[in-house]
Each structure stands twice: as C-alpha cells, then as structure tokens.
C-alpha cells in the first residue's frame, strides 16, 4: 500500500497534468500487475462498497485516540474530511504493516463488511496500529467508501497508453465497465486492458459515452444552417447504454455501473432485439397512456428502492427512449453519420426519441420555450453527419437547456465545505420572505425581533456557482456576521442577497417552506439588492404554478448530459 499512498500523495499535491501523468507512469512501471489492477480501478472511479459504517469509524477513532466524541467532531469539522481527522488524531503507529495494495483490498478491506462488529473493531484497530498517518488516511478512505482523487479517467487512460504504448482510444474502449462495483479487478483484467484486440464486442462490454457541451449563446450564431442539425428533447431521466449480445442484456449507467437488474421492463424489451445491438438512450419513468414521461421525481422514487416490489413497478414503470445506435449486427456503427444511425434505429423498431420538427432556428426556439410544460430540460442539437464520439470531445453535440428558474434569496445559514473547501464556509442555506417587507426598516425590524409576523423562511441549500474569490469574500462575511454556531453550522445575521437558480420546483411536505427546488445553485451575488427586496414565498408559488417539472428535492442529478 505504501507505493499506492505515495502515488496518491503525488497526484493530490500536484496541480500539473504532466506531473500527474508522470507519477502514474512511474507507479505503473513499478507495481506488480495485481496492484496496478486495483490502482487503476480506484483511480478511474471504482468505488468499493463501504466496508465499515462511518459511525463505527468515528467511535473507534475516539477510542483509539482517547478523545471525547465532541472533541473528535470538532477536529472533523475543521478538516472537513473524516479520513483526515482520523489519520491525524490517532497515536503514532506501534508496528509497520507493509503489504501490497491488492492484499490490503482483498484480504483486509473487502472482508470487513461481512464481519460482526467486534471482529471488525479488532481488524480496524490492528490496521491503524500498523499504518503511518498517510496510510491511515488511505485506509479510512478505502473502507469508508469515499475514495476519490483528483485525476480523471481520461488521465489514467492517457498514462496507461503512454506507459504501454497502446492506443488511448482502444484502452478507453476496453476499460468500459472495468470499475463496476461487483467485479473486483484482477491481474488478468488489468492485462486485458492492454491487449491489441480492438473488437471490444465481447460479453456485455459497453462503448464510451459521447457527451454534449452546453451551447454558448444562440444556435443561429454558432451552428450555421438549421438543416445540418437534428433536434431532440433533452429528457430528464437517466442516460444509459443497453447491450444485447449472445442472447443476454446488459444495462449500463453513465457512471458505468451495471444496472440491468434494476430495470426489468427495459431488459425484457431489449431481449427481443437481435444479438449484436447496442443502444444509447434515456431511462424514463413513464406511465401507461401518458403522452409525456413522468417527472424525474417518480424515477427517483423508483431508483431509491433496493427491492423492486410489484407495487413500485406498477407505480413507476420505466422505459427507454433511444438516442443512438452504436452497434448493430455485431458491427460497430459509431463512425457512421448520425442520420444513418438514426435510420437504422427506426428500422430495428426501437422506440426512438422523436425529432423536434421546426423549420428554422426561430421555430426551434419557440419549441424550446415549451420545455418546462413537456418536463424536459431543453433541446439537444446533434450534427446530422457526425460520428458518435468519445467523451466530451468535438462540437457535434450541444445541449441547449432552458434558462433556470430563479429568485433572489437571502443567505441565512452556512456550513464549511469538504476537501478543497474544508474550513471555508461554502455550503449555504437560503431563505425568502413570508411576505414582502414594506421597506428596509420593516425588514430590519423583523431581523431584530424574531417571532414576529414578517420572517425569512429557509427553502433551499446551494453550494455551487461561486468563484474561489467570491467564496473567500462570502466566507469572510459569514465569519463576521455569525450569530450562533451549532457544530459545523453557523447562523448568520442576514446581509447578503443571491440570485438562486434551479431547474424545477414542487410542493413538498418534507420542507418547512412547503416547497422543494431541484438543483439549486448560485447564479450571482446581488450586491445591488437590499435585503427587503429579496423575493417571497409567493414568488416561489407563482413559479410552481408555471413550471411543472422538477423533483422532490435537490439531490444530485444522476445522469445529466
């Protein structure tokens, strides 16, 4: 594990791509294949299941460091990272365990899940006694299910390619599905990444997804002739790839997780396709006899369930709308023009996302304006002659989303962030007025005397959208205006107004405000807006009446592309 920790530290410390690739190549040249197999798995985004519950880790850390729980928690709040907090509070190691990464993963870490609490306690404490601070950090990351590092899968592929002398696109192709949670890496699987076999069409192996860029500005200005482009709705579901080969169906999520068992209806439909068919599309909750897919909320309810009961299958049936055909008759079709691939899809009789028929860009803009009523996020524009690319490359696919809904809201609570944002207040809660204040004095009086009839009602949390400079500035204001601290959370004297954007808005019984917004984020700081001009609950209710789409709360989008 020492070698892998050194690699992690080098990747974590460096801000240069070149240095990161060099560190990766250095590691690959040094490590035995079964260790390299795990390193590539972990760095390319593979996440082993949590082997030890977080509360057990915390309790064990308090025990091993002889600290009261509250004091450990205070340290955790300062680091913003559990693994870091544990690594630093533990007493110095007593002995040194120096075992290969693969042994750590297979013999010490993965088995922890199945142990009873007492045996797990012994195993974790023994590991801590034998590891340095940096190694403990890594151990906690690996057992806690939160391992992440600042390299992209693309960078790992580039290093593999430069180190092995194989073509990077071939490695990317063979790496699809490599990080699946249920298939631990082995030396054989690792070596298979580096073979010359480019067919890739074995078993359930998917293709790398092609991703779209957000369209800057209006299409008329940048895309040329309308006739060169196919327009589709940008559905709000889960992007997926369905592979039918050798009489079997595999469904892959955009995150390259195998999710076949979770969508039996889709599996059933795909099992009727001819062998050697691979389709890219969107999984959508869709009620029978409805013209439009159901709101994302329903799909979310379905994917939240671990067991698929008859009831949930009936309540939230899922179907797939195909976007693209990657393989047919066992032949890779990705190099063919988009319109040819679409024609093949239709020939196969696979339900395909309809084209939006508008003669010109102006007509398309009119169609796009109906996105919210249709519960879609906007339009996708794809060049009709473009091949199916790899990753976010080229300029053949554009997403032309509708502008987010927005309100001006007041910052009322703040919490420190994690990782790079540890110790900085970056996660904010926002509120709107329960009625419009008459003037500045009215608002001021309401802030002075709590419990009056005019009040700020928190309704959303957001942590993205600001630049580092802006975060620093807001952080300073938060520290200066703190009224109360509850653990890592601070209540502040309201002084800042933000324009908050979100994708959808719905009534919610789980939120005090009675309202839940989807994907809230900060669009800008409204220094020009005094507090009393921030929006009200009524503003939100009016938006709710207009915007039909949206989920029950602001959880992470599963497949936004």
């Amino acid at each position: 594990m020492k070698r892998f920790v050194a690699l992690y530290l080098a990747l974590d410390a460096s801000t240069s791509t070149l240095a990161k690739v060099a560190a990766l190549k250095h590691y690959l040249a040094d490590a035995p294949a079964r260790d390299a197999a795990w390193a590539v798995y972990l760095l390319a985004g593979g996440t082993p299941r949590r082997a030890v519950p977080t509360n057990e880790l915390r309790a064990l850390a308090c025990e091993a460091a002889a600290l009261p729980e509250w004091l450990f928690e205070a340290g955790y709040a300062a680091t913003g990272d559990l693994a870091e907090a544990i690594a630093y509070v533990l007493p110095d190691p007593e002995d040194r365990l120096d075992e290969p990464l693969a042994d750590w993963m297979e013999q010490r870490i993965l088995p922890l899940r199945a142990l009873d609490v007492a045996a797990r306690r012994e195993a974790v404490l023994a590991a801590w006694r034998g590891l340095s601070a940096d190694e403990r950090f890594m151990f906690v990351k690996l057992v806690g299910g939160g391992f992440r590092v600042g390299v992209s899968k693309l960078l790992v592929q580039r290093a593999l390619s430069e180190w092995s002398g194989r073509d990077a696109a071939g490695i990317a192709q063979r790496m699809m599905g490599y990080t699946d949670i249920d298939t631990p890496p082995t030396a054989e699987r690792f070596q298979a990444l580096l073979t010359d076999d480019v067919s890739g069409a074995r078993g359930g192996q998917p293709y790398p997804f092609f991703l779209a860029h957000a369209l800057p500005g209006e299409p008329a200005a940048s895309l040329g002739t309308r006739a060169d482009w196919l327009a589709e709705w940008k559905y709000d579901g889960i992007r997926a790839q369905v592979v039918k080969r050798e009489g079997q169906v595999w469904i892959w999520s955009r995150g390259e997780e195998l999710v076949t068992a979770r969508f039996p209806e889709v599996e059933a439909v795909a099992s009727t396709w001819p062998d050697g068919t691979v389709v890219d599309g969107e999984l959508l909750a869709w009620l029978p006899d409805e013209a439009e897919p159901a709101p994302f909320a329903l799909l979310q309810k379905r994917i939240g369930r671990t067991k698929l009961s008859k009831a949930i299958l009936a309540e939230a049936p899922v179907r797939m709308l195909a976007y693209d055909l990657l393989e047919s008759e066992g032949v890779d079709r990705r190099h063919e023009p988009m319109h040819v691939r679409r024609a093949r899809l239709e020939q196969l009789g696979i339900a395909t996302s309809p084209l939006v028929a508008a003669e010109d860009w102006a007509g398309l803009a009119t169609a796009r304006a109906q996105s919210r009523e249709r519960r879609v996020e906007g339009l996708m524009l794809k060049h009709r002659d473009a091949p199916y690319g790899m990753g976010r490359t080229g300029n053949a696919w554009w997403k032309w989303k509708v502008a987010p809904l927005s309100v001006d809201a007041v910052l009322v609570y703040a919490q420190a962030g994690h990782g790079r944002r540890a110790n900085l207040y970056t996660d904010y809660s926002f509120a709107v007025w329960n009625r419009a204040p008459r003037d500045a004095a009215d608002a001021e009086a309401a802030l002075e005397a709590t419990g009056g009839e005019l009040a700020l009602v928190p309704f959303a949390k957001a942590y993205s959208g600001l630049t580092d400079e802006e975060i620093k500035r807001v952080d300073r204001v938060i520290r200066q205006t703190t009224l109360e601290k509850f653990g890592p959370v601070r209540r502040v004297r309201p002084s800042m107004v933000f324009e908050l954007g979100f994708e959808g808005i719905q009534a919610s019984t789980r939120h005090k405000s009675g309202i839940a917004v989807r994907f809230p984020r900060m669009l800008r700081i409204r220094d020009d807006k005094p507090l009393h001009e921030a929006d009200t609950l009524d503003t939100l209710r009016r938006l709710m009446a207009v915007g039909a789409g949206g989920g029950t709360d602001g959880t992470e989008d599963l497949a936004d592309d």
Partner: protein, 342 residues
C-alpha cells in the same frame, strides 16, 4: 479580588498596573509579547517589550517609537504590580508576560511554541513554563488534529524535496513568514551537504540582520537581488515570504517548484487552496499536545483561552477540572485563519 487582567475594547487590560498587553487600539502604555503585526500595533504612547524584540519593533513602528526593553526574568514595577517577561519560543524576543499583584500571579503567554514531539525553537530563547495562578494561553492550533511531527523529520522532508528539485534542474522556492519562520528554516536547512545554495528574499535578510544583532547565530545566506543569476545557479533553495507566490519576483527564479511551510498545511483543504506543489507542516505555534503540556506545567487552576479554536480547548480544560474561559481578542484569529499564520 477582581480579575487582574480583563478584556476592554482596546485590548487586554491590567487595571492595578494601568497598562495593556498587545492592545489593538492606541493606548497610553502597552506591554508587547512579540513583534508580529497583530500583537505589536502602531500608535501607543509607550511600549515595553523584551530587549531582543526592540530592533524588530523599531523596523515596524519607526525610529521614534517610545520603546523600552527588559531582559527575561527582570522585574519591573508598574503601578501596583510587578511585571516580568519570560521566553515564549515563538520568535526572537517573544515573551510571556507575568504579572504579580498581592500574591496572585497571572501569565499572559502571547504566542508560544512547544510541541508534543519535544521540539523547541533554536533561533530564540525556548519556551519556559512559568508557575502562575491564572494562565492566558493562545489556541491557534487548539484541536487534537494538530500534532506536529518531530522537526527533524519535517526538515528531512524539505531537504528531500529540495534534492528532488535540484535533480530535475529546478530551484526550490520555500515560502514562510519572514519573521520567525524564515529564520528557523534557514537554521534548519542551510547546513552542510546540501544540494545547492540557499538564498533569501530581501525582507527575510533584513530580519536576519536583527537576529544576528541580538546574538543569534544564523548561517550566512545570500540575498536575492534583481541581478541574482538564477540561470547559472543549480538547485537553489530560496526562502521568501508567502506574498511572493505567483509574483514577478518568483517568476525571475525560472523553472522552480514552490512550497509553503505552516501549521495550516496540516489540512489538506488548506494545502490545496494554497495551490503550491508542497505543503510542509511546520509551525511556530504550540500543537495540541504542546498546549496541554504547557498549561499543565504552569500549575494554573484557571485558564483563559484567546485566539484560535478557543471553544474546544475551553471545554476540554473544563472537563479536566480546570476553571476555563475564553477572551475574544483581535489577534490573528480564524478570520485570517488558514490564510495567515502570524
């Protein structure tokens, strides 16, 4: 008996002596623990500090500043109290202020360095615990996540990084506060068997001179000038204040790797925000075990905690059975926090 030291809007105040300790607003008489800007502010009518700090203070306050010096252990009667200064180990001339009045002793420690690993600051008089009834302590690193590794280990890491830079044909730019930190780095790194020459920023050189005047032996190092031939130097280590990061001054070094030495580099988030190639955990403040041992060594039954994570330390001391409370001060608090360790 009323408290000997209380917090007033101007700073910590000793009424029977009618003076302030490290006040943040102008006052008639100030006793200064050390020369860092957040403790030694301009505008007071009279300053009393350790004599080794006077040169540093004059550089900050001007030649006309009304300064007066004391030796460590020397007692001065001010009003109705006896005041003496004792080594704090933080920077040159840093002192704990002991105040005795009618048989009760208070010690206001200012910033001090003592670590659980047993290190002390070799570029100034090392921290000495002083017995007292009430101890006023800092808590810049008042959480158990802050435990400093032995200083020699960290210096070895720095040397390994420097050697690596030299091997790659780069210079090594090591940033740290020019008063105190830089001198510890020079003392620890400008030794025999090093991969290249050691140079310092002009601001560091000026403070080095003050250290040497006070009789501290620092290795001879060159000062960077616009004429410094970085192109022909091999594997230089350049010690400079943090302000040079990404500046034109730093660009003149040519190819180099940069690093920052501070206790805050313990935090990965802070390290990444700094966006330097390396962060070394190297502080002039006490770590958590250091704070606890320093507090215990005073024998004080009452402890008042100032700037830093005072809440956690106060609660922990209270759980140990001490009478503990906090003073809200305007010393380098968390508002500058991660960004500036004074």
């Amino acid at each position: 008996m009323p408290d000997l030291v209380t917090r007033r809007p101007q700073g910590l105040y000793c009424e029977p002596g009618d003076f302030y300790i490290d006040p943040w607003l102008p006052v008639a008489r100030a006793v200064i623990t050390h020369a860092h800007a957040d403790h030694c502010r301009p505008g007071h009518s009279a300053y009393l500090a350790h004599r080794d700090a006077l040169g540093l203070m004059r550089a900050r306050l001007g030649d006309d500043a009304p300064l007066e010096g004391l030796a460590y252990g020397e007692t001065r009667r001010i009003g109705a109290v006896d005041v003496s200064l004792h080594p704090a180990g933080h920077v040159l001339g840093s002192a704990q202020v002991r105040i005795e009045h009618r048989g009760e002793a208070w010690v206001i420690a200012g910033d001090y360095f003592v670590s659980g690993a047993g290190d002390c600051n070799t570029t100034c008089a090392p921290f000495e615990p002083v017995r007292c009834n009430v101890f006023v302590t800092e808590s810049t690193f008042g959480l158990p996540i802050y435990r400093w590794a032995p200083q020699t280990e960290v210096l070895d890491e720095m040397r390994a990084w420097w050697t690596d830079c030299a091997r790659q044909g780069k210079h090594a730019l090591l940033m740290g506060y020019s008063l105190g930190k830089a001198q510890r780095l020079i003392a620890g790194l400008a030794t025999a068997d090093v991969p290249g020459p050691v140079l310092v920023h002009g601001a560091v050189a000026r403070l080095n001179a003050a250290y040497r005047e006070a009789g501290i032996q620092l290795p001879e190092v060159e000062t960077v000038t616009p004429e410094t031939p970085f192109k022909s130097l091999r594997g230089a280590l350049v010690i400079a204040p943090p302000a040079v990061q990404d500046s034109r001054w730093a660009k003149a070094l040519g190819p180099h790797s940069d690093a920052f030495a501070s206790g805050w580099m313990r935090l990965r988030g802070a390290r990444r925000r700094r966006s330097v190639d390396r962060g070394f955990v190297f502080s002039d403040h006490a770590d958590w075990p250091g704070l606890l041992s320093a507090i215990a060594a005073t024998g004080a039954q009452r402890v008042i905690v100032t700037h830093g994570d005072e809440g956690a330390l106060v609660r922990y001391l209270a759980e140990l059975g001490l009478q503990a409370q906090a003073f809200a001060t305007e010393f380098g608090d968390e508002a500058h926090g991660v960004e500036a360790e004074a």
